[in-house]
Amino acid sequence: MYRLSVSPHIHSKASVSRIMWTFIVALMPAMAASIWFFGPRALYLEIISVATAVITELLTGLLLKKRITLSDGSAVITGLLVAFNMPVSVPYYVPIVGSFFGIAIVKQLFGGLGYNIFNPALAARVFVMFAWLPEMTTWNAPLTTSGFSKLAGFNFSIDTITTATPLAIAKMKGMAGLLTEFGSKMGMYKDLFLGKCPGCIGETSALALLLGAGLLLLTKIIRWPIPLSYLATVVLICLLSGNDPIFHLLSGGLILGAFFMATDYVTSPMTPKGMILFGVGCGLVTMVLRLKGGLPEGVSFSILFMNALAPLIDRYFKNPVLGVKT
């Protein structure tokens, strides 16, 4: 007797672990940038977060009697992204609780890899954000000398709440306030692009994130529709509402969100049309929250909101089956 199986009998090299580990490699530039700009504490946060995620995945896997899926690296991604979404000054228990919540509750209890409704990292971020709002909105200036080094008043030792990130400044004082902090407009763009500004450790450096995103796009692990429509919507709304589109593109977690979180396979639609709609929706919600909301940033909320709509989008935006008349 020979082995029996259904066709096809050959397979491409694609595998879940290959995708996930490439994704992790793509996050490395941003991780390096986070350490460069925020010092070793950023690294500690990342290590703690990843370790918690991995251990939680292992323990919940054993408890729920699931096949242990550690080797596919998805827990590492979640852990890294959770850490990326935190200011450098958070106490160490914040990433621990965040990663635990993301893996145990958002991912494993909903059925594990492939079944979660919400992006675990983002849900974790929102959870810890509302759990410890002061800690999560205390921003540190980057270590390197920049326009922000003179903002000593925004150091986390002083109980300032939401006036440190560029987006918060834009919200409070408008463009004039930004220009006084950064000096000139070009200087502001440069600092934002490189990542020399306060913010979550993984989101500030657009350069590093774009390097990783380039790798993901080249290896076809993520597709262009979601990020492109997301960013395009943001630009369009900025132009329509008279805001600076480049500032809004480079500040906050938009690049990280558009390329690394909105594109999460499990929680985004599957058809090109659905992906574009998803991206447009993310952009809309982001800009509404940024311009009209109470908090300065809206990327995580917008992606989570669209996550909830993804199954619906999949239902109504199907690919036209060839030969079937609609």
């Binding site: 259904v6 599957m270 060839l322």
Partner: protein, 439 residues
């Protein structure tokens, strides 16, 4: 380049690029396979009704003798491929399902050589069709659609084009390629015969660019023929699928549930065209075909002209296998069916027999599939634009009826979705089960 001036075509939606492995047998000329001691000839090697058995246990048969009578419109004659004695007429396990089969033990003399060649030009259309019918010719690309039925489309369908399928997009397989290289003139003659039967003006011969020699050969041969065009095609699986080929060459879309003649096209495979010629000129029934035997553990890979009914065990004996066999696949690796026993016979639609080593077989183990991560790779690969991800999830939950809502019946089972799936899900298996269980 030499083929400049020819427009290179392909289909737009989906498709994958598996490693070809054609080098194993590409340069192997067709060799006659020795006469087997025993053949198992299934009476259903085609789509439609099983042929009626005309022989019983103990009967003596001669080569080319009719042993299965066509039953109804969609059915085909079956002939003995060797002279001998009928050992048994039983239900035998063919491609993992039971089919009534005639088992013949070699005995007596071959009477080959007395086939005389006719001229086909004076023959009437009806006479040609009758000869094709009595020779039991079926589509030799795999599906096994009776050719006489295919070549007599309903009168309300106007056929304007004949497509000859020389694509052979499955990896490993080179049997059609070798036929094209070695029997160029015969194939052109066969094309003309089919063209006459259908009364069409234009014929396109689609060949993928990985068979440049064949393209060149046919292009040179067909310079004098104004209505038969060689179409080079970009290499992409599953271009050999009827609907994909029609889309690639003619940009016409076969409607869901329809057949090629709904858009005025008939598609015929190279091997079938060759068999048609033999049937019409020599009145020779379809009892042998060219089969690619390949695999990394096969000692004498090659293209063999094998008699229908020859069992895998005879093939193993002849070609020599080193190392344990993990999988035996009848057909190509993408759509072929793997068999569990060495008693499985070569049939009219068997274009290849592939032997995989234990290691190669174990590398694709669908019993350890992972959950769908919704990566949408399968949606991109699907040549019909289905949602294989959803089909697989519904299949996993055994919701066969719900699968119909996702156009289950339009699936061509090409395997592109499983091929690219990072979670290695047996999507095709679920689709096949769904088609069987939701009916």
């Amino acid at each position: 380049m030499w083929y400049s001036g020819l427009k290179i075509k392909t289909f737009r939606t989906g498709g994958v690029h598996p490693h070809e492995y054609k080098g194993l047998t590409e340069e192997c000329s067709i060799i006659n396979f020795p006469v087997p001691q025993k053949v198992i000839i299934p009476l259903s090697q085609h789509i439609g009704k099983t042929a009626k058995a005309l022989v019983k246990k103990g009967d003596m048969v001669s080569e080319y003798q009719l042993i299965g009578q066509k039953d109804g419109k969609i059915s085909a004659n079956v002939h003995s491929s060797i002279p001998g004695k009928v050992v048994d007429v039983v239900m035998a396990c063919i491609l993992n399902y039971q089919v009534l089969s005639v088992v013949i033990q070699l005995e007596g003399e071959f009477k080959t050589g007395n086939l005389k060649k006719d001229e086909w030009e004076p023959l009437k259309k009806e006479e040609i069709l009758k000869r094709i019918e009595s020779a039991g010719i079926v589509g030799m690309g795999g599906a096994g659609f009776p050719t006489d039925f295919k070549l007599s489309p309903p009168p309300d369908k106007k056929i304007d084009t004949l497509l000859v399928n020389g694509v052979e997009c499955e990896p490993y397989l080179t049997s059609d390629y070798r036929l094209m290289m070695e029997k160029t003139d015969e194939i052109v003659e066969g094309i003309k015969i089919v063209k006459k039967v259908l009364g069409v003006r234009t014929v396109f011969l689609g060949i993928e660019l990985n068979k440049k020699k064949a393209i060149k050969k046919f292009k040179d041969r067909l310079t004098s023929e104004s209505n038969i065009h060689v179409v080079p095609l970009k290499v992409k699986y599953p271009q050999g699928g009827e609907k994909q080929l029609i889309k690639a060459i003619l940009k016409r879309q076969v409607p869901s549930g329809g057949l090629p003649f709904d858009v005025g096209v008939i598609v015929s495979n190279i091997a079938t065209v060759y068999a048609v010629r033999e049937a019409v000129l020599f009145q020779k029934p379809l009892t042998e075909r060219v089969v690619t035997v390949a695999g990394t553990i096969v000692e004498k890979c090659g293209n063999y002209k094998i008699r229908v009914g020859t069992t895998v065990s005879e093939v193993i004996k002849e070609v020599g296998i080193h190392g344990p066999i993990g999988k035996v696949i009848m057909g190509g690796p993408m759509m072929g069916i793997n068999v569990s026993t060495v008693e499985a016979p070569v049939m009219k639609g068997t274009s290849g027999i592939l032997f995989f080593s234990e290691k190669e077989a174990r590398s694709i183990d669908y019993s350890f599939y992972k959950p769908c991560i919704h990566c949408s790779k399968c949606l991109e690969a699907c040549p019909v634009n289905l949602n294989p991800s959803m089909l697989s999830i519904l299949g996993e939950m055994e919701k066969w009826e719900d699968m119909k809502g996702y156009h289950l019946q339009d699936c061509i089972e090409c395997g592109c979705c499983s091929f690219v799936c990072p979670s290695r899900r047996p999507i095709v298996g679920w689709v096949k089960a769904g088609k069987a269980l939701s009916a």
